[in-house]
Symmetry: none
Amino acid sequence: MSPVVKPPDTPALPRQRRKEARPHELLEAALALFVEKGFAATRADEVAQRAGVSKGTLYLYYPSKEELLKAVIAHYLSSRIAATADEVREIRGPMAPVLREMLVAWWQQTYAGPGSGTFKLIISEVCNFPAIGEFYVREVVEPGHAVVRTILQRGIDSGEFRPVDVESAVHSLLLPMIMLCTHKHALGACTQHTIDADKFIADHVELVLRGLQPSVPQAMPARRPIKSSARHAPTP
Amino acid sequence: MSPVVKPPDTPALPRQRRKEARPHELLEAALALFVEKGFAATRADEVAQRAGVSKGTLYLYYPSKEELLKAVIAHYLSSRIAATADEVREIRGPMAPVLREMLVAWWQQTYAGPGSGTFKLIISEVCNFPAIGEFYVREVVEPGHAVVRTILQRGIDSGEFRPVDVESAVHSLLLPMIMLCTHKHALGACTQHTIDADKFIADHVELVLRGLQPSVPQAMPARRPIKSSARHAPTP
Amino acid sequence: MSPVVKPPDTPALPRQRRKEARPHELLEAALALFVEKGFAATRADEVAQRAGVSKGTLYLYYPSKEELLKAVIAHYLSSRIAATADEVREIRGPMAPVLREMLVAWWQQTYAGPGSGTFKLIISEVCNFPAIGEFYVREVVEPGHAVVRTILQRGIDSGEFRPVDVESAVHSLLLPMIMLCTHKHALGACTQHTIDADKFIADHVELVLRGLQPSVPQAMPARRPIKSSARHAPTP
Amino acid sequence: MSPVVKPPDTPALPRQRRKEARPHELLEAALALFVEKGFAATRADEVAQRAGVSKGTLYLYYPSKEELLKAVIAHYLSSRIAATADEVREIRGPMAPVLREMLVAWWQQTYAGPGSGTFKLIISEVCNFPAIGEFYVREVVEPGHAVVRTILQRGIDSGEFRPVDVESAVHSLLLPMIMLCTHKHALGACTQHTIDADKFIADHVELVLRGLQPSVPQAMPARRPIKSSARHAPTP
DNA sequence: AATGAATGAGGGTTCATTCAT
DNA sequence: AATGAATGAACCCTCATTCAT
């Protein structure tokens, strides 16, 4: 998927001057370690060592550990979501397949690649480095939400979807995806509690799309109290 | 909420002896700081100061920072989920209201309280302290999933719900809740990107419950390709 | 030997008020720990605990750890050497038996009792607390040396001993004794390298007394080069 | 002797890179301070400062203060006693001059050099670090004793020496030397109580050698009570 | 008088950053 | 450009000492 992944079996590549590759290798090493251990618990020379350079070299490319973090975030979040938005604007016809395919495509690109760790990283570090949060919201959250919101709104307008709260539906669709990316680098990385991510995402999108269908009036008497005695909060 | 916060302008308030209250105050302070800044970035005397004691006192109650972390996790994750499971087992009748009310009740308890931060804390630190992950999976994840899984399965068996993949549906219901707790202490704590959590949870549960309803045959021509040219991965 | 040794099998003596015994118990505990671990490596509450009191109580009797050290030294070095000196002054007749019996008597008293540790303690701590050294020299070294010196000199004057350097002979007699006391609490306390102290002291005194005998002229051609090639410094 | 001592009035002498020299300089500084103040009372940055480096540099070469202590011991106790033993084995002829010269040679090498402090250091710290004692016994005590024992035994076998207890005689010869080394760094370093060490050692060896001479029967009626009333223990 | 909880200065150790080579 | 030895501020933790009970 990403051709820059350093082959892990070439430990001592023979002194070829690859000044151009250095920054990217450092970013990749830094991302992996920041995601795994957190920013504060990652030592600068761990990053350098994983990138195959000395500690001093790291500081040749990034003036401080914090700048390295920002570069990591900027690099792995430079999204092409805006481009997606433009494409979506042109599409006509039923929105359900559009939504399904767009989400699954984004998902497959994201979950497998190294960028899946950025969500955990942002969650962990945003309070210490609020600039990261602003960048993320501006570059990723808002354009991403906008795309999904647009599709949903168009489906509602055309009667394809029920008139649900669009913000909530956006979250219903996207939050599990973010959570799964996070899980991959958290519990999933160090416990036996794994999730079949691809299957879940397919099932989840399907479930939500079902939930968005206009109701067939008589089909479901939702929220009509049936036997009142049966209902109570189970964990008061 | 926190009447114990020492006013910072009293330089030497007379040394207090409160052996019983200290552990809880220290745990509360540690949770807040570990959640906000991360374990490694939190200094031991920050915790002590927030709890209104000196650094030495902290070490009177917990032998190391790591043990303090474990105590925080153990304290705030001692769940009453098992009790919930017992109650649920007795319930008869339609499962949709049971599910809705149980989830909302759990949600309201959790999101508002200090325990909502534990999810971010676990996400951030589980790779550094795998024992935390095992504890969390055993004490929270598995019993929690079991409760929801039981309800869903019973609804499927009775024909109230479609025969969906139960594991996926459990995740569809719960992951957004976890994500929202996490969000509260991450982006939500330091950017303007807020979410109306209560409304979203209500909407989300409703949406999923709709998606679980048995399908009315003619209602949705799902997955039928409509205009083939309209489909392509939106973020290439 | 010393009737104040606390029986170690009465761990909780039932609240009897023994204010008078406290200081001595503290001194005994402090001596044992200071000798074993050194002053700096001994914690104040270790001393208190070994004496069966709380940390606060220790500070009721001694205002600081350093004062406790001084009290230990003063207590265990309060020597009765001066009295010995008076007795010796009266003695007439051959000095060899006097010396032998006096040294053995002093040895037997000292080596077995707790005071044997004071030599190691002084060696270890005198550079950090020079006052201890001055006290020790004044109270122990000088009077002790004076006694032995007097006896030796009298033996020399009477022709019983050879006219050796008296200072050197004093050291030849006493230094091994000090060294053995030190050894008991150093290597002897934690390795298998033990010395049969009583036998050695008897042998040593005898050997030195022999060496003090007037020489029989033809007996020893000392310092006459014998086979010159055979002599060279063995560890150059 | 110590040309590396940094003059204290040059606040920032330009950072030096001397990877080879550092370990020895650190060991020398550490020995001096550990001997003078004891291990526990010596601060790591005192050692670093005396070696002319920063505290961090110390930890570049030794992973902890305790490892530094072990390195000091290992470095200054790497004895050439075994070599001496080989040489001694070849020597024929009278043993008295051999013994005298060997002891004086060893003495002169040891007392003047920095290694003279190791005895005090071992005495002070062996109970806290028993491995040091085992190392010392194996590397120094046992081979050293073996050399002296061999010489004495050969002298006894040839009739040159009286048939004394060899172990005791070894101690009679060596313990005062150890004690003098110890004294140099204890009382001798901080009180006026000095000993003319070279003279004493020469006298002492001579005294003991005299005591080892075979007795001329009629010369000394040792242990035969002469005037019985004159004998009594002077310090009862 | 006795206790032991509380304090905070101090010491061992780490690690981001610098700089001589 | 690259290295890695050197630095020192900062952090975890200890423990002598104090003081409320």
